[in-house]
């Protein structure tokens, strides 16, 4: 899967693990839960390494404006 930043047009080609995180990032599920349910459960990787790599990945995407990171769930957009 490929993702391109709309801010600076940087490209990311995602591997299977990164794709799983990207697809699970719904603005409400904590990253730790995504790692447990979508990464550790489906790929052969220990939880500490998975959490570390996931945080690095999310930080990298957020640096290019592709993901927003918050300590709190994002509110769903209001219906018009």
């Amino acid at each position: 899967m490929m993702v391109m930043s709309a801010t600076d047009s940087t490209f990311f080609t995602l591997n299977e693990v990164a794709t799983a995180i990207w697809q699970a990032a719904d603005g409400r599920t904590p990253l730790s839960e995504i790692v447990t349910r979508k990464v550790c459960a489906e790929f052969e990787i220990d939880s500490e390494t998975a959490q570390h790599d996931a945080e690095h990945f999310v930080e990298e995407l957020s640096r290019h404006g592709i993901l927003l990171v918050s300590d709190h769930p994002f509110e769903p957009p209001a219906l018009s």
Partner: protein, 268 residues
């Protein structure tokens, strides 16, 4: 009469002329694409650029997905920050976007994916470099080492790009062209053309080694990294056939490497 300012950006020997009334924007592009500016008198394609105001909403661009489609022979490209229309028969198009070179980057990449698709080539998410007159392509998923191997290149290596490689078919062979599209290194590639010797699919490891890959695996990995946006069955099939032809003609191998400059002793 409104004064028009022109600039031709030539990538892969394809000059695309951009015309705008915003002189500052033209100057910004001249700086951003330094090394890839061509004579504007004989462009293959011309675009009129309408510069939108900052935070101005671009019509019909309601999400961040890139959408590229063709209707009655006219291409339409859309992203949240720009909308472009291009009629290949007229060799002319129009784009509305803010005064940022990053929107032009995205728009030019889309243009070149369409141009290359009809010539048997493609853009690849890969670094590429020339050594001893031969081009080497380094591809892989994000984090595999494209920036690292570019940064480690010795002085006799000319970097074509650390981000987007331009692969053009010439007869039965392939050449790599420099591009201004930069990644983490934040510097444009060298504007030159060289025959492609090898493709390396990168993986960081605990030793330096090169392993052969069966063509089917090479194709699978290559397809993962080819840039293509258009919703067009014939062109998608064409890109698939081009990638298959490419892996028949060019050596594609796995390069596992330690992140230090010894890896370049294996690349010549």
């Amino acid at each position: 009469m409104v004064l028009q300012h022109e600039i031709a950006i030539e990538i892969g020997n394809v000059p695309i002329l951009l015309r705008t009334v915003d002189e500052n924007f033209r100057d910004l592009l001249a700086s951003h694409y330094a090394g890839f500016i061509a004579n504007p008198t004989n462009p293959q394609i011309e675009f009129d650029v309408d510069v939108a105001k900052i935070n101005e909403e671009i019509p019909d661009t309601d999400d961040n997905d890139v959408k590229v489609s063709i209707t009655d022979g006219e291409w339409c490209f859309r992203r949240s920050d720009f909308v472009a229309r291009w009629d290949p028969r007229q060799r002319h198009g129009r784009v509305r976007q803010p005064a940022t070179p990053y929107s032009v980057d995205a728009f030019l990449r889309i243009m070149h994916t369409l141009i290359l698709a009809q010539q048997g080539g493609f853009l690849l998410h890969a670094a590429s470099a020339v050594r001893n007159g031969r081009a080497f392509i380094f591809s892989g998923v994000s984090g595999a080492g494209k920036t690292t191997i570019s940064r480690l290149a010795p002085p006799d290596v000319r970097l074509l790009t650390d981000e987007i490689s331009y692969i053009r078919r010439e007869g039965e062979d392939y050449v790599a062209c420099g591009t201004p599209f930069s990644g983490e290194l934040e510097r444009p590639g060298t504007n030159c053309v060289s025959p492609i010797h090898s493709v390396f699919l990168l993986a960081k490891g605990t030793e330096n080694r090169i392993d052969p890959l069966p063509a089917s695996e090479a194709l699978r990995c290559l397809l993962r990294n080819i840039l293509f946006f258009a919703e067009d069955t014939d062109l998608v099939n064409g890109v698939f056939r081009s990638a298959w032809h490419f892996v028949q003609k060019v050596s594609v191998r796995r390069l596992t490497f330690l992140p230090d400059d010894r890896v370049w002793s294996m690349i010549a």
